[in-house]
Amino acid sequence: MSKRALALAVCLSLCASGVARAEPPKVSPESGPKAATPAKPARPKKGAKAFPPCRLFIGEIKDLRTDPGTMGAVGSMVYVDDMDGWVRTGFQRLVADNRFTLVETAEEAEVALKVDLIKSYIYAGNGMSKAATVVVRVHYTAGDWALGENVYRGGKSSVNWVGTSSESIGSLNISLLEAVEASKPDLLKGCLAVRARAEGQGQSASAD
């Protein structure tokens, strides 16, 4: 009985995957994380100073991987249509956090980001598992001031049901968002540093 159940499970997986794999998965802005609604500004606590959202600009995105065309495989290969657009959709989700807002130009921004994509892949583990990883290096600048850079890693492991496109792309999207989430503390530090400097400059100007 149990052998029959196993055979049936394998069979259904194979059949379903056969149907689902007609088109290989492709990474693009359309398949990336869904756009987020900008968060409402936070109400400052009584007596606390308001923290206006930090103005961010997402600048150049470079793909530093050795193969820009693919992102590994779970059953079928995952191909790349528009890497720049895909990574951008991940960082655009920062607007869902009321501490950040996105602006159109570097001049308007308090902090500008440049992103290097270092790793982005998915693989099928032993048994019925799959694991996706995205690693980015983010460079922070404020005008001519280089605030620094850091590397962030996101990952998602889960059951590999039938190796469909949506499973693969979904895991990569979650990994990308996890890497973006990991960058938030540094982003905030950058914003605070920029504001502290502006405040300091303002005070010294008024003292003069």
Partner: protein, 266 residues
């Protein structure tokens, strides 16, 4: 309409199950197939193709074996445990991956292959081509479209064992015909016309492995990975460098070996 779809699905499943049953009857292809002297003498040029399947080191996670217990529920539970184990391993391996984020294993392997195979005169190898699209269609194309007489395909893997007390670098090497002249040396049995890179089509194949144990292994996986990652991942870099050099050296040493004499008939 729904019943027709269901029937088609059941038919597909029945055929699938039948195919699975048949594969169990196929004679297994030996891991080591030596290159015949005649084939070696016939090669006029070889293209070395290195398909790369992984982007970073990983931890080997043994799949759960339910032993057929629990039926469908058992399968689902096993899938869940596999995913949880993989998730834990992926979390544990992060420090090692971060420590060697700039380390390009594929490029090192490519260079080692170029150096080692230069010593195997009869191959007349012309460089090493790294292939990252490892889809069946692309691997087939790598063989069918090769301008050379033969294609030597080398698939490498590098991993921690489950407790990360050791690093293993493995290389699977197979030589395929990509010209009518070399087709004569294809194995008489076990060939596969659809998948040109199938093991049964190989004129030569072997597996090479190099294992580096961590001295004074600490028992716990996270502790072992911390030790591999120390000093910018120096111990891990050393293990992978040695592994790459060693497996390519083993391949270069094995390729020219004469096949064993056929058994004498009594």
């Amino acid at each position: 309409m729904r019943s027709r779809t269901l029937k088609s699905l059941m038919l597909a499943c029945a055929l699938g199950a039948g195919a699975m049953g048949l594969t169990a009857c196929v004679t297994p292809i030996p891991e080591h197939v030596p290159l015949s002297i005649a084939a070696r003498e016939a090669v006029t040029s070889t293209e070395v193709v290195a398909p790369v399947r992984q982007s970073e080191i990983y931890v080997y996670v043994a799949p759960v074996n339910t032993g057929g217990q629990g039926g469908m529920i058992g399968v689902l539970i096993a899938a869940g445990i596999d995913a949880a184990n993989t998730s834990a391993a992926e979390e544990d391996v992060k420090p090692a991956r971060d420590a060697i984020i700039d380390f390009n294993f594929d490029e090192m392997l490519r260079q080692d292959l170029t150096t080692s195979l230069a010593d195997v005169g009869f191959l007349k190898a012309s460089g090493v081509r790294v292939v990252r699209d490892v889809s069946a269609a692309n691997l087939n194309k790598a063989i069918s479209d090769s301008p050379q007489d033969a294609v030597l395909m080398t698939v490498a893997d590098y991993q921690f064992n489950s407790d990360a007390s050791a690093v293993t670098v493995t290389m699977y090497a197979s030589l395929y015909s990509s010209s009518p002249a070399m087709d004569a040396f294809k194995p008489a049995k076990g060939g596969d016309a659809k998948f040109l890179y199938a093991p049964g089509n190989a004129l030569y194949r072997n597996k090479f492995a190099y294992v580096v144990d961590m001295p004074g292994s600490r028992g716990k996986r996270v502790d072992n990975i911390a030790a591999w990652s120390a000093d910018g991942g120096a111990p891990l870099r050393k293990a992978l460098t040695e592994g790459s050099t060693e497996v390519t050296r083993q391949l270069a040493k094995d390729l020219p070996l004469d096949p064993p004499p056929p058994p004498v008939k009594k």
